[in-house]
């Protein structure tokens, strides 16, 4: 593990709450770690678990999923479905030998720019403590080994 490990994190945001919270954090000039790159979805319910696997396998060290608070979903109740999928996804990751702590679900309303900024900062530290995932490198390495063995 490198001493100055800077994790790369993909953040999925809901168009109506957490994406606006990110906008608000910007408007308020709050400062947070530059390690998170955001993807806007219309709803956290749009989050196909494949997106998380894709991000991790493409080189992300962690994935942050954000949505509206329970009871405040823009689409009535879709964030509850996100919660269900999230819990299942964590079990799947564990089964694959990936620390489930690399994926985190956070609720942030459009008014909670400061909360989102804090959550991003603490998640960056949590992933930093876990170290790099390095999925693409490991995958490339494995492929090489197989090639040698063949």
């Amino acid at each position: 593990m490198s001493e100055h490990f800077e994790p790369v994190i993909i953040g999925f945001t809901c168009n109506w709450c957490s994406y606006r919270a990110a906008d608000l954090a910007g408007t308020a000039r709050l400062k947070y770690a530059p390690n998170v790159r955001l993807v806007r979805l219309m709803c956290s319910g749009r989050l196909d678990p494949t997106f998380v696997m894709k991000a991790l396998s493409d080189g992300a060290d962690g994935v942050l999923i954000t949505g509206c608070h329970p009871g405040e979903c823009h689409y009535v109740e879709q964030n509850y479905k996100t919660l269900r999928r999230y819990l299942l996804l964590r079990r799947l990751l564990q089964g694959m030998g990936i620390a489930p702590e690399r994926v985190k679900l956070v609720w942030a309303s459009a008014a909670e720019g400061a909360k989102l900024a804090n959550e991003i900062n603490s998640f960056v530290e949590e992933v930093r403590a876990l170290g790099p995932l390095g999925w693409p490198q490991k995958l490339a390495g494995n492929v090489k080994e197989v090639e040698v063995a063949a």
């Binding site: 400062k31 993807v39 991000a55 493409d58 080189g59 009535v76 479905k81």
Partner: protein, 669 residues
């Protein structure tokens, strides 16, 4: 088609936003990087400009689309919530489908929130790469247009619903006004005076009620409830249950002889707030609109015991019909306004204030009825015995509001309501009035002046939250009184103040069935239980469901002027749609590819808008595009990948992830 490496030609435009972006992001570096590193992804031109959103900035894009034949555009600038429409329109003017333009937010998400220019520039590149990869996968989309039915459903006949109904009806359009009580008028019809002008509530409300009842464009459906809502903006079909009144409305003249003759007296818990009586056949008041009485079967001698029929015998027009059954009506409307109002906080829950246990503790609505000249005491302010005039009265603010044990929010009307009570007690009894407040909130027009007036009238204000109201006397002075125990926070000591009467200024609560009603109409409630507006500041009467609007206290505590303003605002929104004849819907929708659908029906239960239906004859599911709100939950759930989400397709999102991680993924890089 394109000869650009098999990829569509992409133009990238990086905005300086004055120094807003350029201060923290090396804009020129991002531009040059995009032109070189993203060339293989389809980028044929990358430019930077001081203000992309300015006219010359937009013209730059339009010119390139025309001259270079750009097929996709990425603008790296501010949040799409600010200028997505601006740049989509610029593309449209140059002949490019607007949905082939993407914004990369390098201001809100990069320059404003980061400090290290090197790191910020690297992140900006990743964000731009994500947008480029995504836009390549964008598909041209067409806006969806649907016609608007000119009729409107207003649910709730309080002052808000009345206002909304009259605005629309006066503009010449049909309104169905549904009210579940026998008469319209709502809470306001129960009040005596209204703050801060002290207009008599009936004097200003009843003309509106009659106008509503007589209006040729308003179909009044009282003693009725909505049971089913189908359809979407512009095209709703609503089922309304008309509960039986047990009389033929077409024959009833509203003479009220039946009410007079009815031998059964019942405590009226609704209109008279439990301190007055009505008959088993009744109208809420003499000024009820409509004028038709209803029979309360749970208390009617005939319905309970099989004998009596006094109303039938006394009716001069033979209007009574004991056989009447409930009816279900189906109406077509284009828009729906929910003005379902509030419930009063149940003061019994604050047991230390003794309501329900100590006779002379009253709630605000009981006091309203007492003050009302048409109420049970004919407007006389008296103790529970019905005759003794109080010499000392204590008024307690914030009962059930601003309290972690009950409701956190401020009910917004209680301060002014309490001041009004203080004035009325002074005026009518000359009693000493104590007013216990936490903070005095009188922010609207002429409200603080009213507070000054009540101060000058000699009401004694005590700043502090009352701990307890009890009848346990500690000395002769307290004997036979109600003792209010309070910390006077301005003096800094505990006080015990003996009074004859206590009025609890009870707060507002969401309707007990707000959640179910919300579900019926496809809208949500906040964690407090009030209906959620589309935007708390900029779109307060719209909801997430197009065509369903909210107004008045259904969306949160409000006083009469604010409720009326919202009633008018919702009506203006509806008229806006009606007069356009059709509405344009964002083409962000889920679509089921019929040939891939296995008919498993997993998606069917996931849609809160009932947009997905199963076609049994073809064994596939189908999405109604007008009902679909575009959340994409079903897209993520389909095990066959048969559902695609336009605007947010799997291809688009996966490509964006690729782009965002281009710098760290040695395989895709």
């Amino acid at each position: 088609m394109s000869t650009n490496n098999g990829k569509p030609k992409v133009g990238v435009y990086v905005c300086h936003c004055g120094t807003n972006i350029a201060h923290t992001v090396d804009v020129e570096q991002v531009r040059d990087w995009a032109a070189q590193a993203l060339g293989a992804e389809g980028v044929v031109i990358a430019r930077d400009y001081k203000f992309m959103c300015s006219s010359p900035g937009q013209e730059l894009i339009e010119k390139d689309i025309k001259e270079l034949g750009l097929e996709r555009v990425v603008v790296a600038a501010c949040s799409p919530h600010l200028h997505e429409m601006t740049f989509r329109n610029a593309s449209k003017r140059a002949g490019l489908n607007p949905y082939l333009t993407e914004l990369a937010s390098i201001r809100e998400q990069v320059s404003w929130v980061h400090t290290d220019k090197g790191l910020a520039t690297e992140k900006a590149k990743a964000v731009v790469a994500g947008a480029v990869e995504r836009v390549v996968k964008n598909e041209p989309l067409d806006e969806i247009k649907v016609p608007i039915h000119p009729a409107t459903l207003v649910v709730g006949g309080g002052i808000t619903g009345i206002q909304a109904a009259l605005e629309i009806a006066n503009a010449g359009y049909k309104v169905y006004l549904v009210e579940r009580e026998p008469s319209i008028g709502g809470h306001m019809a129960q009040f005596d005076k209204t703050f801060p002008t002290l207009d008599c509530a009936a004097c200003i409300l009843t003309p509106r009620m009659f106008e509503t009842g007589m209006h040729p464009n308003i179909e009044l459906l009282t003693w009725s409830e909505v049971t089913q809502v189908a359809g979407y903006v512009g095209n709703f079909t609503v089922t309304i249950k008309k509960k039986p009144r047990y009389l033929k409305e077409e024959l009833c003249t509203g003479c009220r002889i039946c009410v007079e003759k009815c031998p059964k007296k019942v405590i009226d818990h609704v209109y008279e707030a439990g301190i007055g009586y009505r008959k088993a056949i009744y109208t809420s008041s003499a000024q009820a609109v409509p004028k038709f009485p209803v029979i309360d079967t749970a208390n009617c001698n005939f319905f309970q015991k099989g004998t009596c029929k006094v109303c039938e015998k006394s009716c001069p027009t033979n209007a009574i019909d004991y056989e009447q059954k409930e009816q279900f009506l189906k109406v077509d409307v284009g828009n729906i306004i929910l003005a379902t109002g509030y419930d009063l906080f149940d003061a019994r829950r604050v047991s230390n204030y003794g309501y329900g246990r100590l006779a002379n503790v009253f709630t605000s609505i009981e006091f309203e009825r007492m003050c009302n000249a048409a109420g049970p005491t004919s407007g006389k302010i008296v103790l529970r015995d019905g005759q003794t005039t109080p010499k000392t009265v204590g008024i307690i603010h914030c009962v059930g509001s601003r309290d972690r044990n009950y409701n956190n929010y401020c009910s917004s009307i209680c301060c002014m309501q309490s001041l009004k009570f203080a004035h009325l007690v002074k005026e009518r009894t000359g009693a000493t009035v104590y007013d216990f407040y936490i903070d005095m909130r009188t922010p609207m027009k002429s409200y603080d002046e009213f507070y000054q007036r009540v101060l000058e009238e000699g009401t004694l204000f005590v700043r502090g939250k009352v701990a307890q109201v009890s009848d346990a006397a500690r000395n002769a002075q307290e004997e036979g009184k109600l003792i209010i125990q309070v910390e006077d926070t301005l003096v800094g000591k505990q006080r015990r103040i003996p009074v004859d009467m206590v009025i609890l200024s009870t707060g507002m609560q969401p309707r007990h069935d707000a959640k179910e009603v919300g579900k019926l109409f496809g809208i949500g409630c906040s964690s407090d239980g009030w209906f959620t507006e589309k935007h708390a500041k900029l779109d307060p009467v719209a909801t997430m469901t197009e065509g369903v609007l909210i107004a008045g206290t259904a969306a949160g505590p409000k006083d009469i002027p604010a409720s009326v303003a919202q009633g008018s605002a919702a009506a203006a929104r509806v008229l806006n749609l009606i007069m356009r004849h059709e509405v344009t819907l964002e083409p962000i929708k889920a679509i089921i590819k019929q040939w891939q659908c296995s008919g498993c029906r997993i998606c069917n239960g996931l849609c809160p808008f009932n947009a997905i239906s199963f076609r049994a004859e073809r064994r596939v599911s189908e999405i109604n595009p007008a009902l679909c709100q575009g959340c994409g939950t079903c897209v993520a759930a389909c095990p066959a990948g048969a559902i695609s989400g336009s605007g947010f397709s799997n291809d688009q999102i996966l490509a964006q992830i690729d782009g965002l991680l281009m710098d760290v993924n040695p395989v895709s890089a």
